[in-house]
């Protein structure tokens, strides 16, 4: 019961982040947005917020986490995505759209999702990077998880078919690109999209260059093999 109501209130608290930031106040005011009949006249007390979402900064972390999960859902709403990870409706909408959504489209959608709450994001990331216990002084795991989730979601909903080690290289490069673009967005929101495009462009150029180098090395190797064979050194 408590889990169901906290999930519901978290959903209602998300629009309040724009005005109140990732704060306990946003969580406490979520009850004011409940439908008629259930709506409260007063925000939740601090004790109630702690009981539902955790003590102190834990409640804020819960809110940030819910906001990030909603960001993943937002990516899947881009027209033309191959799969909708968070719902079972997938095929009709995807096949009905003539143009398939690309990685670029869904990452841009994720950056757009940041825009309304941009002033509050540095504080949210700072909170995520501060460890619960105090040691070590900076905890990058949450930031890494966040970008990895975005990269994984982008790959999944656009129908990426990378296998084995390619699966990792694709996601690691996309996570790095997205992390750089998001950091760029914090300081310069308007140029972030062009920055994302240029990074994706560089990454695909690098990939095609590497595959060409691989192909060329393969030819060189095969030529040498043929030369050695025909010279009679081996058999």
């Amino acid at each position: 019961m408590s889990t169901a109501s906290s999930t519901r209130l978290l959903k209602l608290a998300l629009p309040l982040v724009r005005t109140h930031g990732f704060t306990r106040e946003a969580l406490s005011r979520s009850v004011l947005a409940l439908p008629a009949g259930e709506v409260h006249t007063e925000p939740l007390s601090d004790t109630a917020v702690s009981a539902l979402f955790g003590n102190g900064d834990t409640a804020r972390r819960t809110l940030i986490d819910a906001w990030m999960k909603d960001g993943l859902r937002h990516m899947a709403l881009v027209p033309g995505v191959e799969r909708h990870a968070q719902s079972s409706i997938s095929l009709d909408s995807a096949t009905a759209t003539a143009k398939k959504a690309s990685i670029r489209d869904v990452l841009r959608a994720r950056l757009e999702y940041n825009e309304p709450v941009l002033p509050h994001l540095p504080e949210a990331f700072a909170l995520l990077a501060s460890p619960r216990s105090g040691i070590p002084p900076l905890d990058p795991t949450q930031a890494i998880k966040h970008t990895a989730r975005v990269a994984d979601e982008a790959c999944y909903i656009t129908g990426d078919k990378s296998l084995q080690l390619d699966w990792y290289t694709k996601r690691i490069s996309l996570a790095a690109i997205y992390a750089a673009s998001e950091l760029h967005q914090l300081t310069s929101p308007h140029t972030a999209y062009a920055f994302l495009d240029s990074l994706l462009e560089t990454s695909s150029t690098l990939k095609s260059t590497l595959s060409e180098v691989g192909l060329y090395s393969d030819y060189v190797f095969k030529s040498w093999k043929g030369i050695i064979k025909s010279s009679g050194i081996l058999l």
Partner: protein, 217 residues
């Protein structure tokens, strides 16, 4: 010649894995999406199961590749190994599609699985036809049991998503294929291999360790 044998053995039945291997069936929910109503534990179970299965199929492919590198010209077992390898290639193609469908992280140990599989296949083939068959027997016994355990675990899933019954029937089909390979190995004198008991327990033990490693990494 070997291809003719393969055609006879795979096309005669309607197989659950055809949902993944035929072109026309590719756009249904069962082969295109993953269940969203699984619990955290069930999702983890599905992830690790598909990760292990895919890694196992990679290793199996390389075991047969290694065996064939040595026994390619053997008239008696050469075509049998080729036939089993062809089946493993199909298994891997289906597992690759399942990994993408269910958004499962593949194992980081895929390159290790390739090297270990090829070495195991080649070394046992060097020891003789019987040893190669003993290796197949040991590997397929462990894999057959592993698929069997997975089917029991999948039975506990409370979801109406059509991909789960399909996954169960695909695993059942693959288990049967692996047990067919086991029968082929036994019929071809796997138990006459030198130090059969020792070889079986070493290979079987190695497979179990590999399964546990791939579940986690």
């Amino acid at each position: 010649m070997p291809k003719c044998v393969q055609t006879l053995t795979t096309v005669a039945r309607t197989l659950p894995s055809n949902a993944y291997t035929t072109l026309h069936a590719n756009k249904t929910l069962a082969v295109h999406s993953t269940p969203q109503d699984l619990t955290y534990a069930q999702r983890n179970m599905l992830d690790s199961a598909l990760r292990v299965d895919q890694a196992g199929e990679i290793a199996a492919n390389y075991i047969y590749k290694g065996q064939l590198a040595v026994l390619r010209h053997d008239k008696k077992v050469g075509h049998l190994i080729q036939e089993m390898w062809d089946q493993e290639k199909k298994h891997l193609a289906v597992m690759d599609k399942l990994q993408v469908q269910h958004n499962v992280r593949p194992t980081v140990l895929s390159e290790v699985a390739k090297v270990a599989g090829f070495s195991l296949g080649a070394v046992t083939a060097f020891m003789g036809k019987e040893a190669a068959m003993a290796c197949t027997e040991a590997v397929e016994t462990v894999i057959g049991e592993h698929y069997d355990d997975q089917m029991k675990e999948l039975d506990s899933f409370q979801t109406s998503h059509p991909s789960v019954p399909l996954l169960k029937s695909v695993i059942r089909e693959f288990r049967d294929d692996e047990l067919d390979h086991l029968d082929i190995a036994v019929v071809n004198f796997s138990q006459r291999a030198p130090a059969h008991a020792l070889l079986s327990s070493v290979v079987g033990g190695g497979c179990k360790v590999a399964i546990e490693l791939c579940k986690r990494f």
